[in-house]
């Protein structure tokens, strides 16, 4: 456990040593802030049936920024170590492969969570200036941020897998961007199926992150996406671990 924490500490620090972290933080803050502003401006013009918080988490802007951050967070995780050769001192120290994989994953997750903290301020500022509730209930906040956490874990684990496959960060970024985009928009494939009651359409609907977010950000805590994303994260991390320790295969 101590070694895991030592590794995690180094992973988290390394984010804040690199300019990429600050670029991502600023970029994300601008886009999400702009999204928030647009949503409120829109609501100022006409009455709507949803809350500020729901609008914020379900807009196009939001999803656009969302999909883009994962490759940026994860591309360097393993690829950089392979490229610089620092993997050699790392893996010849008495550490286990899974400790390294988990430290990198949780390091990325930590940064991802840091990325979201400022968005909480949006709602605080909104409520103090307008004296109106930004969401219908506390559960709505909980649901939305839980969904972000779950989906984030899954996509970060996809990014880990992409990064462990190559020593080139750009290639890792492209792989994870393509896979995450496809996974994300796979849910839209349900609209291709004409028959609304068909099983295929319903099945595809289960995988739609957009629909899941719609549900959770209303405050309905649906357990299906929780199980889906947690189990998929475990699958992706297991694959990452397998690829990572494949250098030890006797070929």
């Amino acid at each position: 456990m101590r070694k895991f924490l030592v590794l995690l500490n180094r992973e988290v620090r390394s984010y804040f040593y690199s300019p990429i972290a600050y670029i991502v933080l600023v970029f994300f803050l601008i886009v999400s802030g702009f999204d928030f502003y647009i949503q409120i401006s829109f609501m100022n013009q006409r009455p709507v049936a949803y809350s500020v918080q729901e609008a914020f988490f379900n807009s196009v802007f939001f999803w656009f920024a969302f999909v883009l951050i994962f490759p940026l967070i994860t591309m360097r995780l393993f690829a950089e170590e392979f490229k610089l050769g620092t993997i050699e001192p790392l893996m010849t120290a008495p550490v286990r492969d899974w400790q390294v994989v988990l430290a990198k994953f949780f390091g990325a997750l930590f940064f991802y969570i840091v990325l979201w903290i400022p968005t909480l301020l949006f709602f605080v500022i909104f409520q103090t200036t307008t004296h109106q509730a930004a969401a219908n209930s506390t559960g709505a906040y909980l649901g939305a941020y839980l969904m972000l956490l779950l989906l984030g874990m899954f996509y970060l684990s996809v990014g880990c897998l992409a990064s462990v496959l190559t020593k080139n960060q750009i290639i890792a970024a492209i792989i994870s961007f393509c896979v995450i985009t496809l996974l994300f928009f796979a849910g839209l494939a349900q609209y291709v199926v004409r028959d609304i009651d068909s099983t295929t359409r319903q099945l595809l609907g289960y995988f739609s992150a957009i629909e899941q977010m719609g549900t959770l950000s209303r405050g309905q805590l649906d357990t299906r996406p929780m199980v889906l994303y947690l189990s998929m994260t475990i699958v992706m991390l297991t694959l990452t671990y397998q690829v990572f320790q494949s250098r030890k295969w006797k070929l």
């Binding site: 101590r2 070694k3 030592v6 590794l7 500490n9 180094r10 390394s14 040593y17 690199s18 610089l84 050769g85 620092t86 993997i87 050699e88 001192p89 893996m91 010849t92 120290a93 008495p94 550490v95 286990r96 250098r247 030890k248 295969w249 006797k250 070929l251």
Partner: protein, 311 residues
Amino acid sequence: MIKVEHLTKRYAGQPAIQDLNFEVGKGEIMGFLGPNGAGKSTTMRILSSFMPPTSGRASVAGFDIFEQSLQARAHLGYMPENVPLYKDMRVTEYLNYRAALKSVPHRRIPERVGDVKELCGLKDVEKKLIGALSKGYRQRVGLADALVHEPDLLILDEPTSGLDPNQIRQVRDLIKNLGKQHTILLSTHILPEVEMTCSRVIIIHKGRIEACDTPENLLGRIRTAGGVRLEAKVGSDNGTAELKKIAGVRDVNADDDGDWKIFSLRVESGADVREEVFRLATDRRWKVRELSQQRATLEDVFVEITHPDEA
């Protein structure tokens, strides 16, 4: 301390090392010598558990490098070739991190890191970013890292490559000192380094061990044991022709230095032809300004073993 049995590694079918067998005892400084691509780094990477051998087994401090990899790694300090380091960390920070990673007890970390910084001469750069350090200092950081958990065994892959002569001497002295407490396996293609620091030498060529002995014995073993150097004015004589007639002389090379001729004589092993050369020079009334015996160096051993045709 190290025991290697029938170690073989193939990359995509191509053998990098074949059937290596050797042992390194406690307190030895073993030199690993060979041309580039001979399999030195491959062997060291296997011994440090970075990658597995295709077949064969090896143990470090009594622990199998594959079955008990963690224990084996805990007992060795490894410095990879070119010393890859995190450039975004500061020297002390990096060493603290490495010490913690290598299970140095929390309370002992400041002491250990202080010691290795002192030992490797890193005190004046301890607050600098590793990325801003010169190659020589990075090498020292790598060495400090290898030493920080007080390993029984040090594996150093080309510890002096890319350093200037002063830095090489410093690192060499450091290694010699470390040899008093640690077992060391170091690779290099700089021969004087091995001659000066190592108690035993393994010469590896094309993935096979060609020789394994003390530097002295290796020198004794080679056929072209040194030679004789003669600088003389030979007047109207040819010089080379006369010198070649002396028994024991295998070959003569002549160079001009103004009026002077510089002869390099290769002689049969064990033969001392200096007396004969002197007699010849006095008989022919040559003016001599130098007559000296050249000792065979490991360089000769190396060339003889790795390029037998040219020797």
